[in-house]
Subunit: 157 residues, 2 copies
DNA sequence: TTGATTCGTTAGTTGAGCTAACGTTCGTGT
DNA sequence: ACACGAACGTTAGCTCAACTAACGAATCAA
């Protein structure tokens, strides 16, 4: 039986019962699978998850400072610098000093950025479909709801 | 609104709709919360998740070579070395050369190791309860089942 | 006007996951 | 009998994400 490399949670008898009870292990392994699926799908177009997150925030909420983007994306201010550099290099955002507050930059999505966002979104729609393929619509909604409740619960502790 | 540090998935209007649709984002953030919860609970007794996994395998399946442990735990052979060093330092396992195959070590759990396993398991039982607190037994089973199906699906691609 | 706070940035840390290479040992085929 | 490939434990290193610390510049509050 060769199993290495796979992130399969349950190998039947080969998996100790104690491990099968750990929700954090199941969630972690599944999360890793999902994350890898997304990264592999984005790689061919040279995009990263952070690009999607930042462009989505800018498109929906309008121009914002880097600190505001960080707050809304849970990307650290320190890491956001490199992400914005990449997005600016692609012409997908513009980084300009804020005339009203010289500490701030104003980040604005460009038309190219909106096109890029649509491109990435299309890829991720496919990823979601791949991931959720075994579940019917009702089950997908259940999974979102259950995980959402756990997440909200753990966030307020 | 101060939100930093939290891994809350949904901030209402502040969260772009596009992000709320990403199952991998929700799963990833929730997984990170769970993982942190577990690590914080294990820290006071100086234990790591890998300790639990290895001890559980040894307790359930009996003495094994390092390669066999790696196969059953998805811990890489290279990383397993340090984990076993720590477990040996604590007296929880014994690492001895295999007389039948001089390439191998035979790893055996000790009585102390079984006690340690019980200690860690008790902590993780509490972690599971904390994580799953907002869900009733039926919902917990559903979450396991849904994630398990997604995991199995993604594992065979 | 002094002092605390915010902002963008650089640098560095930690941990998990993963690859490469090496010497040793074993199994197989010839 | 012996060469060759594979498996073993180990060391080293890589990547990526999450996170912390510190800094100069700018702003805000006392």
């Amino acid at each position: 039986m060769e199993t290495s490399g796979e992130l399969r949670f349950d190998y039947g008898e080969a998996t100790p019962e104690r491990l099968k009870r750990q929700i954090s292990r199941l969630t972690g392994m599944t999360s890793a699978q999902m994350s890898r699926t997304a990264s592999e799908a984005l790689a061919p177009i040279g995009a990263h998850k952070a690009h999607f997150v930042v462009l989505a925030v800018l498109d929906e909420a309008g121009p914002a400072s880097q600190a505001a983007i960080a707050d809304r994306t849970r990307i650290y201010r320190s890491d956001l610098v490199a992400v914005l550099n990449e997005l600016a290099d692609g012409g997908w955002i513009v980084r300009a000093p804020d005339p009203d507050d010289k500490r701030r930059n104003v980040i604005t999505i460009t038309d190219g950025g909106r096109a890029r966002l649509a491109e990435i979104e299309a890829v991720l729609d496919g990823v979601n479909e791949t991931i959720l393929a075994p579940l019917d619509p009702g089950e997908r909604a259940q999974l979102f709801a259950l995980l959402g409740r756990v997440n909200a619960h753990l966030a307020q502790r």
